[in-house]
């Protein structure tokens, strides 16, 4: 089959590789009909996530048709159409029982690597480094899905792939970000980053009762999308725009009730701190560039909540913990507990409450994926979301 492989920092290539096989009783093999490039794939592309290996197949947002099932998979049949969550969960450990699916104890074959870095290991993820399990990803024609009895969501309506594909990661991730923001009715919510997760965080914040959502970014195509679903936008790259001042101005001086950092570890900043982070990460003295996190903590109102769907990987410098303590801030974060959100969000799509495909800007075959990784990384061609048909020529 054809698959997109990580071949080193800044280098991805399409290779012909072996087809995946059933390896465990709860596995299924899925023929991938649509897959997408995630913003967090760019962290891998840019070499920010350790324990990648040449030849690793990327991709954790995908859906398709069940091709084969392991002998313990009784809920799926060949021919079923499914969306697969990017976190792999066993469904029976203490964490799965608590519905903390992304903290599953039994799905990371390399748990010891993550234990060494984080104290404990989270669940395995598709195509996201050996520390996170080393599983082959879904930017390929076929993919092996472990614990297929637990994860995949059957799509029984005739909704097109594009409307349900984002249930594999970014729609639930944006939704959990809004839920983690502990939004009360009539709240004002600020969202940093209007990429796909930010878009769904904005949409979800409105669904959960927010009265005003303020969206912060510097790319017009993203700000346009944010305004199209009702947000007030702040372009921090405009001359004289200061985000903290803007947020005070837009909240009568008290600050947003909740701040959502949908940017994560590769934040761009026009301020001095941005230069500081770039220098320190280049010198390997810092692993992440947390300028958005710093700003979100600074901006949130007293007693407010900072919700962090953006990915962080390592040790962060100069995080204003004193400000967080001084204001009594709540912080919530983490990989998405996918399995909790997929069904209810599918129901919203089926009812026509939201059509997640509005963020798609590029539709390509697998062969153009290496080129589009670069284009998206370099923020050219107004990319908002890239969807791949791995069977298109």
């Amino acid at each position: 089959m054809k698959a997109l492989c990580w071949m080193g920092t800044g280098k991805v290539e399409v290779h012909n590789v072996a087809d995946p096989k059933i390896l465990n009783p709860h596995d299924a093999i899925i023929k991938v009909t649509r897959t997408a490039i995630c913003g967090s794939d760019l962290h891998l592309f840019d070499g920010f996530i350790p324990t990648m290996e040449e030849g690793d197949i990327l991709g954790h947002e995908f859906m398709g048709i069940v091709e084969e099932t392991g002998k313990e998979v009784s809920n799926l049949q060949r021919g079923d159409r499914v969306v697969v969550p990017f976190t792999i969960a066993c469904g029976s450990c203490e964490f799965c029982k608590k519905k903390l699916w992304s903290a599953c104890d039994n799905t990371n074959p390399n748990a010891h690597l993550m234990e060494a870095a984080y104290g404990y290991s989270g669940s395995g993820l598709f195509g996201y480094s050996h520390m996170m399990g080393g599983y082959a990803g879904g930017q390929a024609q076929y993919v092996r899905v472990p614990f297929a009895n637990v994860g995949p969501l059957k799509i029984e309506s005739d909704l097109p792939d594009e409307k349900v594909l984002f249930l594999s990661d970014i729609f639930p991730t944006g939704y959990m970000a809004a839920e983690n923001a502990q939004i009360q009715e009539d709240d004002t919510v600020a969202v940093w980053g209007c990429g796909p997760v930010g878009q769904f965080a904005i949409a979800s914040a409105f669904m959960l009762g927010a009265a005003r959502v303020i969206a912060i970014d510097r790319f017009q195509e993203r700000l346009d999308l944010a305004r199209s679903i009702g947000a007030i936008t702040v372009d921090y790259s405009e001359e004289d725009v200061r985000v903290l001042t803007a947020l005070k101005d837009l909240t009568g001086g008290i600050g947003p009730d909740a701040c959502i950092d949908a940017v994560g570890l590769e934040a761009h900043s026009t301020e001095l701190q941005g230069i500081y982070d770039v220098v320190k990460t280049k010198l390997l003295l810092e692993q992440d560039r947390p300028s958005v996190l710093r700003q979100a903590i600074q901006a949130v109102r007293k007693g407010g909540t900072v919700s962090i769907p953006g990915v962080y990987g390592g040790l962060l410098d100069k995080v204003p913990f004193g400000a967080a303590f001084g204001k009594g801030v709540t912080m919530k974060m983490g990989q998405t507990n996918m399995h909790t959100y997929m069904k209810p969000l599918l129901a919203r799509i089926e009812k026509g409450q939201i059509d997640p495909s509005y963020i798609i800007s590029h539709r390509i075959g697998l062969d153009r994926a290496p080129e589009l990784y670069k284009i998206w990384r370099d923020k050219k061609e107004s990319v908002t979301k890239i969807v791949i048909d791995p069977w298109a020529s």
Partner: protein
């Protein structure tokens, strides 16, 4: 005990002691340290099952190759004795083992009685506080120098890590009926340092099968 604190609705009745010596008279005890030609490892796992089936799974020594790394065969040689074969890289070692204490549903201790490995161990199945399953505690010692242990680490798997991984496999098998694995999945061309990286990631050690051939033949749909 002082009656200063009356209100603790979910408190466990505090264990006074447990034999792998994690708790003695209410105090936490640190694990034994390496020395005198021995290396020690103590590891624990919360497993979502009653102690009894877990004890049985562990006590069934002939099925150990299903969940213990690099163990290729175990043969019972008596009520309490067995013969173990282990393959590490291209080296095969064998030894005999004897069960000393055997408390069904609670505790097993063993030691080697001749052969290529000198080891002893204990496993305890303690009910977890708050009815959340069983805390499995493993204490294992190997008679080997630190140098040998380092050498083993370079060749494949640190013996201590192996004990930790085996308990992880045991838990996964008990809770889900399989052991997570990535061996045998597709990948693109590997680079120059792939072998070294795989060794660092621990991926050169084969993941145990997790199920018997007989079990995998029953109830198949394929």
């Amino acid at each position: 005990m002082s009656d200063a604190l009356q209100e603790k609705p979910n408190a466990e009745s505090r264990p006074i002691s447990s034999s792998a010596a994690i708790i003695i008279e209410g105090r936490y005890m640190a694990p034994p340290q390496d020395g005198d030609g021995k290396v020690w490892v103590r590891t624990t796992a919360l497993v979502g099952a009653e102690p009894d089936p877990l004890y049985k799974l562990w006590r069934d020594v002939e099925n150990a190759p299903l969940w213990q790394e690099q163990i290729t065969a175990v043969t019972r040689t008596g009520d309490t004795t067995s013969h173990w074969t282990m393959r590490s890289g291209d080296k095969t070692i064998e030894w005999d083992s004897e069960i000393l204490a055997d408390e069904p549903g609670h505790r097993i201790t063993w030691r080697s009685i001749g052969g290529d490995s000198e080891n002893a161990g204990e496993v305890i199945f303690d009910p977890a506080p708050g009815n959340r399953g069983t805390i499995v505690i493993v204490l294992q010692e190997f008679r080997m120098s630190k140098l040998t242990s380092m050498w083993e680490t370079i060749l494949g798997r640190n013996p201590k890590q192996s004990v930790i991984e085996n308990l992880r496999h045991f838990k996964a098998l008990a809770e889900t009926g399989e052991i997570p694995r990535i061996e045998g999945q597709p990948h693109g061309p590997r680079g120059m340092v792939a072998g070294m990286k795989r060794s660092i990631y621990g991926e050169t050690v084969a993941t145990p099968p997790g199920e018997t051939q007989a079990a995998s033949m029953g109830g198949g749909r394929r």
